[in-house]
């Protein structure tokens, strides 16, 4: 299992979702991806994207000016 990070700060939805999707395409089953965002819409959209693609949402965290979303990649 590898840990990866993605900087999606200052990007508006759906761009952070698209970046997450494109990043995950290159990752392996079981890898973890931590996405850093600022658009509050990502709190809805990235988990929704994970649900439709079957990836596991490990955690979401909302700080004063940053949203941190951790995903575990699930690939058949």
């Amino acid at each position: 299992m590898n840990q990866h990070e993605l900087n999606a700060r200052n990007l508006l939805c759906p761009i952070p979702v698209i970046r997450t999707q494109n990043k995950i395409a290159s990752l392996e089953n079981g890898d973890h991806l931590v996405v850093y965002c600022t658009d509050p819409g990502t709190l809805h959209d990235i988990p929704a994207w994970c649900r439709v693609h079957g990836h596991t949402l490990v955690s979401t965290e909302e700080n004063r000016d940053e949203i941190i979303i951790e995903i575990e990649v699930v690939k058949e």
Partner: protein, 349 residues
Amino acid sequence: MSKQRKAVSLISGGLDSMLATKVIQDQGIHVEGINFYTGFCVEGHTHAIRKKDKEKEKKNSSLWVAEQLGIKLHIIDISEEYKDIVLNPKHGYGQNLNPCLDCKIDMVSRAWQWCMDNDFDFVITGEVIGQRPKSQRKETMPIIARESKIEDRLLRPLCAKHLTETLPEREGWVNRDELFDFHGRNRKPQFALAKQLGFSEWSQPAGGCCFLTDESYSNKLQDMWDSRGERNYEVDDIMLLKVGRHIRPAKHFKLIVSREQGENNFMRGYRPMYSYLYPTSHGGPLTLIDGTPSEEDIQNAARVVARFSQGRDADEVVVNYVQKHNGPEQVLTVKPMPAEEIPDDWYIH
């Protein structure tokens, strides 16, 4: 055992593509969704920007639809390539600056390419004949199929019975008898089908899902081209056309005045790219300046900003002018411009 056939569905987030997808899923086809981000999409962020819309949908409607349908959704950013469609539409524009026919051809063609790359068999859309005056007419349906090069692998389940049989129908992958014959602008058949398929909720963004069909938005885009003397744009330009009051006192500059807190927060992110004004003696809007105003223009612009501040009735309002973000600020003390002194044709709407 026969091969599991697979289709990709153009998901806009609206009801029609949701129904078209479900109808085909129910015929045993494996469907995945595709959604193209053009930069003009009315999306979660647009609602998020405007504070008063906060309780409204912040969610991405295409993802929401995909979830209802239980399908994967692939979102593809075409905002750069899409410029050519907006700037040079071969088939022209609709009522506003919406190049719907070219846009449809482009999206279907991309979806078809995606099918070929991913071993899918055909594309479905929620198009209904006669629903949109420009792009969804009986004559345009074959144009889309031909120019996108997909030919007979494009299936429109909601109006298929009005159209020539497609390959998926001929091959028996889908049963034409179970497809529909919807046409025209009456949406009652869609609502009835939604009910029959068990959908009680769907997202129906007012004015559609694309800013280019919006008259006021198109006017702002046209104004931007006219004032710059060239038809072009960056993605940041078209984002800013979605927010604020746009006021053009002269050809060489325009003010973008935030209307409320949500827009103010959003526009703050653009301060490094624009010069700007904001009142300091009273509460009031952040105002970005697009263009190259003179000293005198800045004085006038500050009076306009004061007019939209809480000091609009005061004798004087202090407005700071920042030419370069994080650089020195010029302090201007101005008399708010009375509403009647702001000519109506300064407002771009």
